[in-house]
Amino acid sequence: MRLPDHADSDRKGDHPSREHRDDPPLLCAGDKKSTSAVSKSIEEFTPEQEYYIGRSVAAVILNKYQPYTNQPANQYLNLLGQTLAQASDMPEIFRGYRFLVLNSDEINAFATPGGQIFVTRGLLRCCRNEDAVAAVLAHEIGHIQLKHGIQAIKKARITDALTTIAAESARALAPNEVAMLTETFGGAIMDITTTLINNGYSRSFEYEADNAAQTILRRLGYDPNGLVEMLVVMGKNLKSGETGFAKTHPAPQDRIDEIQQKLGIKYSRVQTPEARQARFTKAVGKI
């Protein structure tokens, strides 16, 4: 598949991190055989419980990365992100979607089951316009909407949690049961953060999130080419073996191919209104 003309990207050969992505993550719910069994138990978690899981996943992420406390950048991200969320198939979540920039040159983004979404400065620098930022945020919303984060929790841990929660329906938990539930909770947080930070989702989950993103962008009138252009810049900037995006996502070119083939998008340069470009530049243009 031909690359966009105006941005020639180096066609990298297989880099070491790609082998990792072919390994199934801790719980590969992309595997259709197990999906129905897994998805039934996933549905048992209420949005409230997902919110609490999300808070602690967010706290662990913020333990590794510093927040970027620039108010205009974060306000812009929340204006854009919360608008995108309203156009998704899951606009309502327990306490709403919230976005925060991370102060890191690494190219990366994370979404927790509770609706907290993080994007690094490094990733925002791969965006040339608001449509590209919209694509990044919509992709993360897609992961939440499709419950990919929750599906990273090991099946045995879900069973443990749900068994204890069922017991709690009849009576208050004994102290040792509270301790057990806390341990299960801690394990669940670790399962999710390990997937987000170290292993990455399955390839099919990433493509599903790209697909969900395109739906959101189309509904609002954002140019879907924004994602393609962002991936091209990312492809140029990612270093072989780098932690972060390179390790946890399919190679940018593979995603571009998937987007263009599966979604039938014929690439053309992003057309964006001037006002949109101006506010993008003002908020994150020099991030």
Binding site: E44, F45, T46, P47, E48, Q49, Y51, Y52, I53, R55, S56, A58, A59, V60, L62, P67, N74, N78, L79, L80, Q82, T83, Q86, A87, D89, M90, P91, E92, I93, F94, R95, G96, R98, F99, L100, Q116, E130, A161, L162, I165, A166, E168, S169, A170, R171, A172, V178, A179, L181, T182, F185, G186, R219, L220, G221, Y222, P273, A275, R276, R279
Partner: protein
């Protein structure tokens, strides 16, 4: 002809005694988000008619794909809520209520404040004192007001996200 007359009389008899020829069941849904909004139209741009709290029961009146028209207060207030804010499960605020005692299955019942909750988070924090929640709490405050979002949409020539189908 005689059989028909008898049949019609039987139907009238049933109707007279108020027995429905078909049953119309009420369907209830529960609010599964912390704060929900009931709107005048099936759109996030619709004006808010009422605020809904976690666990509130609403009666389903009309189903329009992703948006549900519901009623509260014995049918006095009617409005639209997005399906992602609603659950078919009954959300019970306390353990030991009649519903729990009847042994309702977990597919019918959800327990508010149970399982992974603020208490479990506090215990987790206790065991992991190096993990700081300051910015987790701060980012929750970054809510965008409806008028800010409208201005953002308009300025950027972005379509309003209304009436989104699943």
């Amino acid at each position: 002809m005689k059989r028909l007359r008898i049949f019609l009389l039987a139907v009238l008899f049933l109707c007279a005694f108020g027995l429905p020829l078909y049953s119309a069941t009420q369907e209830f849904l529960s609010v599964q988000v912390k704060e929900g909004q009931m709107r005048s139209t099936p759109s996030f741009l619709g004006s808010v008619l009422a605020s809904l709290a976690y666990g509130d029961r609403v009666e389903l009146i009309e189903d329009k794909g992703a948006w549900k028209r519901v009623a509260i207060g014995g049918g006095r207030v009617k409005g639209w809520v997005h399906m992602s804010a609603l659950s078919t499960k009954k959300i019970v605020l306390r353990a030991g209520t009649a519903d729990v005692q009847t042994g309702a299955t977990s597919s019918e019942l959800a327990l508010a404040g149970k399982g992974f909750n603020a208490k479990v988070e506090a215990e987790f924090k206790n065991k992991n004192k190096n993990i700081d929640y300051t910015w987790v709490d701060r980012m929750e405050m970054l809510a965008v007001k409806p008028d800010q979002m409208l201005a953002f949409l308009k300025q950027g020539q972005v379509n309003p996200p209304e009436g989104v189908a699943p």
